[in-house]
């Protein structure tokens, strides 16, 4: 039995080694315009510099489940994975993502500021290297809202002034917060209220007032499409998607930045990689999250770089030639009224509130 086992192990090792040759690494991301921006800003310069071929896998959507399955099977085929911060925290909790020492394993800013200071509050998990700040916010059809375009997020709940359908994401996160804010709860108290059963009922009751006028979306591309088709007069989605509807496709749509919710997207490195692959992944991360590289990505997509030192370097869109700074969610003009996704709260309450939210939806 023993020789057979050794033989099998040897064979497994050989295939594992053969599967990932020294000159290749697999990077997982979201696909579409976002992956393209990473390809231009990170992958291409990195391949040029090191000669390593980068394979793309557009699986970020189900990255958490797939990483867990890979981990159980003992065969991790991914080297670096792009996930949102909430997923990164989950992966870190599950022991599926590697802990990073930010100051030694990430590049310092050009002026010498350490990485942990440069990223600042955005380091929300020990395993997560932030890349961009994006926001979930509303867009509206300029031709369908009458003479007084909305300036306040509560326009979403105002069926009298803005009759018509609106699209909201089919999950409680963000919707519950907006509902409470528009029901008179002060912004700073939102999560305290939402932690109680009464607060959850209050939020659902507020959402109930517009329930019949809501189209629920589950993919980021839904709201832009619904807006373009005139199916809804306003809807929430990621700010980069709205940018492309407004600036690239020239649709009669405008941004309603009020009460936008900041969220983070970034990298994690899976645990259980071989020493050699882990080193390569770390080397890539060191390169791809430095100040210049993060600023470069903003040339291709309207998401804000996660490093403070990158902000002044944000230039013009690579194809359209327009200034990108005013389109960043972090631009002072856009960020007058914002809040940051509360990761810890939702890590705790997500399952509980989601069950209530889904039960409410099904009523």
């Amino acid at each position: 039995m023993k020789p057979t086992k050794t033989l099998l192990t040897a064979a497994a090792l050989a295939t594992a080694a053969g599967g990932v040759s020294a000159e290749e690494m697999t990077i997982v991301s979201w696909g579409g315009a976002y992956s393209k921006s990473q390809l231009k800003a990170y992958h291409e310069p990195y391949s040029e510099k090191t000669g390593i071929t980068i394979l793309n896998d557009d699986s970020s959507n189900e990255a958490v489940a797939k990483l867990r399955a890979m981990n159980e099977a003992g065969n991790i085929t991914w080297d670096v994975v792009d996930v949102v911060a909430a997923d990164a925290i989950r992966l870190c909790d599950e022991g599926l993502a590697m802990e990073i020492d930010f100051d030694t394993q990430l590049a310092a800013a050009p002026d010498g500021t350490s990485a942990s200071e440069d990223f600042g509050d955005l380091l929300v998990s020990d395993c997560f290297i932030p890349q961009i700040v994006y926001s979930t916010t509303f867009g509206y059809r300029t031709d369908l809202v009458g003479d007084t375009p909305p300036t306040d997020v509560c326009a979403v709940f105002d069926l009298e002034a803005y009759p018509g359908k609106r699209s909201l994401e089919k999950r409680p996160i963000n919707n519950m917060e907006w509902a409470l804010i528009c029901d008179g709860v002060p912004k700073d108290d939102v999560y305290d209220v939402l932690a109680t059963a009464e607060g959850q009922d209050q939020a659902l009751a507020k959402l109930d007032t517009i329930k019949d006028s809501v189209v629920w979306w589950s993919a980021g591309a839904d709201t832009p499409q619904l807006l373009a088709d005139g199916e809804v007069i306003m809807g929430s989605t990621y700010n980069g998607r709205l940018f492309s509807v407004i600036e690239e496709q020239n649709q009669p749509v405008a941004m309603l930045w009020d009460a936008q919710v900041f969220d983070l997207d970034g990298w994690i490195i899976p645990t259980g990689l071989s020493e050699e692959r882990q080193q390569r992944a770390l080397d890539y991360i060191m390169f791809a999250t430095d100040t210049q590289r993060l600023a470069d990505q903003a040339k291709y997509i309207s998401y804000g770089p996660a490093r403070a030192s990158s902000a002044p370097l944000v230039g013009q869109h690579a194809d359209l030639g327009i200034d990108m700074a005013p389109h960043m969610p972090t631009d002072p003009e856009n960020a007058k009224n914002t809040f940051l996704y509360n990761y810890e709260f939702w890590a705790d309450y997500r399952d509980d509130i989601d069950a209530k939210f889904q039960a409410w939806l099904a009523q």
């Binding site: 958490v64 989950r90 022991g95 890590a347 399952d351």
Partner: protein
């Protein structure tokens, strides 16, 4: 006497061995050869189908994580009566610190936190936040721990926390199955979930009901088409057949998205109706993002699975039977109802089983066109697999779904008879 004895003796083959034995041997060889021929398939099915399904089913009751991560605590909690409403004594806290020091070292405490968070909201952050400080304690010298722990996080001072750990400590649990039917495991036994969290039973019911409606509408639409396919001249019916099969060669996602374009309020159907003046501009039909949308799109997608078995059965019905019936004075209706229809039932049966079983597990189409009232239980399973990572609950839901399908299959066999199903 001697003659008779000789006659009952074993019959011998040409080489002298008993005939029975030599026959059995050659049969065995044949069987072995047959087995070897199907061995690759058997092995493939076993490895890629049966083992994964079995291991997934096992997850619905498996709950090793609590006992593995906190072995001493679980043991110490046996002596604690959770119904008194008082906190456990120092022995439990001591055992807990010993367990956690190991767990923090192995980084398994946050995993346990996520597991327990399914049962009690807030456990996840409690384990994550306490982890760092707890890992630094030395169980031998830093005791007693009760006050220190409550200092670190006041959750450790709630009897409820310890009750949850104790309730969910067995290695084999029915907790996931209880969750799957809108109940939960509590120290006082199984109890119903709060009313505002009950959704799964409703979804099961909806999934079954809508699958039945989809199967029925498939039968209604497929029957005339199959009849035409089976009776028209070959040249015409081949062309029709291509039309039936064409959607098969298109991606499921594309077909579903096409329905979105058709059915939405600014879509093709509504625009046409408004243009014709049949529907007022401000009263456009709502035929997507609800049950109707799911039923329309899924009926279309599953229709070929109904047409094909029906068609192949109808093809075998001899024309002479209906001619004979008519020649003896039967009306068209009687001929159809008494002669043709009974012979086509096996095709309906096969098609219905196919469509129903496919429909009951459908996921992508309800997700895209189902809105809130047209989603299935599989959408919830997908949520628990990919978002909440509650694989135990997902497995329990899947097991129940599998059980329901098997049960319906058994009922079908009792009522219609499974021998009465033909694919051609």
């Amino acid at each position: 006497m001697t003659d008779a004895t000789q006659n009952t003796g074993p019959m011998l083959a040409a080489d002298g061995t008993p005939l029975k034995q030599s026959l059995a041997r050659s049969l065995r060889r044949q069987k072995l050869r047959a087995l070897m021929l199907i061995a690759p398939l058997l092995l493939f099915v076993l490895l890629s189908f049966i083992i994964p399904i079995a291991s997934m089913l096992f997850r619905s009751v498996e709950n090793n994580i609590v006992g593995d991560t906190l072995p001493l605590t679980v043991e110490a909690l046996q002596n604690w009566d959770e119904t008194t409403g008082e906190l456990p004594d120092e022995a439990v806290y001591d055992a807990f610190v010993r367990d956690m020091v190991v767990a923090v070292d192995n980084k398994t405490h946050t995993r346990l936190g996520s597991r327990l968070n399914y049962e009690e909201t807030g456990m996840s952050s409690m384990f994550r936040r306490s982890g760092r400080k707890l890992g630094k304690l030395d169980p031998e010298t830093d005791g007693p721990f009760k006050e220190q722990l409550i200092e670190i996080h006041d959750g450790w001072g709630e009897p409820q926390t310890w009750a949850v750990i104790k309730t969910h400590s067995p290695a084999i649990t029915n907790g996931y199955f209880l969750n799957a039917v809108d109940m939960r495991r509590t120290p006082e036994g199984a109890q119903a979930q709060p009313e505002d969290k009950q959704i799964l039973i409703k979804l099961f019911g909806r999934t079954l009901f809508m699958s039945l409606v989809i199967t029925a509408s498939c039968i209604l639409l497929a029957y005339p088409v199959s009849y035409l396919l089976a009776t028209l001249p070959m040249r015409v019916s081949n062309l029709l057949m291509i039309l039936v099969l064409l959607p098969f060669w298109t991606s499921l996602l594309v077909r579903t998205s096409a329905w979105k374009v058709m059915l939405q309020q600014q879509g093709v159907i509504n625009e046409t109706l408004v243009w014709l003046g049949l529907v007022a501009d401000d009263a456009r039909l709502v035929i997507i993002n609800n049950q109707i949308g799911t039923i329309i799109a899924m009926t279309h997608i599953l229709l070929p699975f109904m047409i094909l078995p029906m068609y192949s059965v109808m093809q075998t019905i001899p024309v002479s039977y209906t001619r004979a019936a008519k020649s003896m004075g039967a009306t068209n209706w009687t001929t159809f109802w008494r002669i043709y229809f009974p012979q086509s039932i096996p095709g309906i049966g096969a098609g219905s089983i196919l469509v129903f079983i496919l429909a009951i597990g459908y996921y992508i189409t309800p997700e895209i066109v189902g809105g809130t009232k047209g989603v299935f239980i599989s959408n919830r399973i997908a949520y628990h697999i990919s978002s909440s990572l509650n694989w135990g609950l997902a497995a329990a839901l899947g097991t129940i779904l599998l059980g329901v399908v098997l049960l319906l299959y058994w009922v079908y066999d009792k009522i219609v008879g499974i021998d009465n199903v033909k694919l051609g």
